[in-house]
Symmetry: C2
Subunit: 332 residues, 2 copies
């Protein structure tokens, strides 16, 4: 009997591409059916997010960026919860084993796993007749009881976001060739920047401890600032007043708004930012902003939490409230 | 602004169908971006398995059985690792929100979660243009360092399996209307039994502690007994000799073999058994079998571990080795 019979295609692809990523002793070299997370006294924070071809990334996206996005959307959740990454498990649904695709996918995933100190612990590789899907469950650690919740914001707290808002949705619009694509046709640098923001989120792990120590509530902005802020306020039983000119925009996004190619509502209702949205009590706001700056991450105060159960208001330069047709991306 | 804008379709379906399943305090009522596993001094065992429409279940399968199978294939892994379930996270990729489908799916998942004491901790619901997919990461607990590994079998150990082998692959063949379907056309009881074995695995959690206390190595049989035993032996650096007449068959499977509708090789190379395969040192074999009986789970000794690196041999009643064309199901 040929010994090749012993190793199925699935086992062989796991050995070839993913074993090198399983550097944690609890991964048992991917030779077992399960992994082990050792107790440390810390709480283990668990988050799970999937990316689907044609929904979260485009068919033509490079395997490297698909891998990075799949992991980073989960790391972004950990950062918003104040957690330090400790590992992840991966479910990969593939139409076929394509080495040309798998090799750069696994290499990029491994680079990110190393960079963010979040090793692969285990996984499942399945065939699908449908779109490629990468589902990741990631683990992080926080001191017992210390996870930053989505609830906890109180009237008077300041509202902060990290990074810049709206770049990713512009990047997606460029890739899907709408009017934004035409508008940046001659600005290759801006074009590439916006596409990269869509394809490769930057999980704000450098903020994790600072968020945990300062924020009253936090989440990551994944479906759109307006909708995600509404969710946070809803859980907290509060509302918010946001000052539109304070919303941080990249130079590329600002240019498109100035030229009236897109309105600001496109940016605040668009998805895929993967920035941290948090509320900070007024007395801690200066310390929060200072520590974030020292950690090298831009944070911007965009408004305040107010009492009430109304949807958050977005106020423009003239004091008028922006009417939003849509708050965020919804899958259904 | 209509307040309906605040709740996206995704949030509303999570609230309606899945919040009732999130009974663990660490699930935060599904109101947060992450869940928390509290430290207990035990190791946390992590396993992840996905089921895909058209691959692990059929398009026409009832939502109830899809839900149960998705959770149970993971619980089966926990049982084989000697772990007690403590919770799971769910990724559900859906083409659309179909209440007629989601209601029974969530209810059955909730029933199993309650029955197996494995509450929903969190999840992600995404849209897909492709097949339905349910990816679950499940958590269990074992005393520190106590997880039963896939490695550890030594020459002389006895090889055991729980339950009966080959029913599920026959059930699949009935559903896909091959010769097995014709052969059971008049045996409705046998037909229903085999289909149920395909659709609703029985995770052998009653064996978890007994496996952990007795087995030198264990895994669950998910891709086929022959292939999974080969994997186990390969990790352990041993081989095995299996006595075919000792392989436990259900009455329905035995009938089909006796009537020569299928050969035994179909049963031992077919997938979806979700039974426990383990090796037990000879001195503990009697105790293992007795305790399993007391726990109400049938276990059968089907052979022994032998030295060497050859593929496991399957020996028939006449002492001849069965030639296997295929060891197990492979996705690729």
């Amino acid at each position: 009997m040929a010994s090749a019979l012993a190793a199925s295609g699935e086992d062989s692809l796991i050995a070839r591409y993913f074993r090198p990523l399983a550097t944690d002793p609890g991964a048992f070299n991917l030779d077992d059916d399960a992994a082990v997370l050792k107790p440390s006294g810390d709480d283990i924070v668990v988050t799970t997010d999937a990316v689907v071809e044609g929904v979260h990334f485009l068919s033509g996206d490079p395997p490297e960026t698909i891998a990075r996005k799949a992991l980073r959307v989960n790391l972004s959740d950990l950062a918003a919860k104040g957690a330090t990454p400790s590992g992840f498990v991966l479910t990969l649904a593939l139409r076929a084993v394509d080495d040309i695709w798998l090799k750069p996918f696994a290499e990029a995933l491994g680079q990110d796993a190393t960079h963010f100190r979040c090793p692969l612990l285990g996984g499942d590789t399945v065939s699908t007749p449908g779109p490629l899907m990468v589902s990741i469950t990631a683990f992080g650690r926080v001191p017992s009881g210390g996870m930053t919740r989505r609830s906890g914001a109180a009237a008077g707290d300041r509202v902060f976001v990290s990074g810049t808002i709206g770049d990713a949705t512009l990047g997606l619009q460029i890739l899907t060739r709408g009017k934004v694509a035409d508008a940046v046709a001659r600005d290759l640098k801006g074009r590439d920047f916006l596409i990269e923001r869509y394809r490769v989120p930057q999980p704000r792990l450098a903020l994790a401890d600072i968020v945990r120590e300062h924020a009253s509530a936090a989440m990551d902005v994944s479906d759109g600032l307006a909708g995600d802020l509404a969710k946070l306020c809803n859980v907290c039983g509060v509302s918010a007043a946001i000052d539109i000119p304070s919303i941080p925009l990249s130079a590329a996004a600002d240019d498109l708004v100035s030229r009236q190619v897109v309105g600001v509502e496109t940016l605040i209702a668009g998805g895929d930012d993967y920035e941290i949205l948090c509320t900070v009590p007024e007395r801690s706001a200066a310390s929060f902003a200072q520590k974030a700056r020292l950690a090298g991450v831009q944070v911007s105060c965009i408004g305040g939490v107010v009492a009430g159960s109304a949807l958050p208001k977005f106020i423009d330069r003239d004091g008028a409230e922006l009417a939003l047709q849509q708050l965020s991306y919804s899958h259904f």
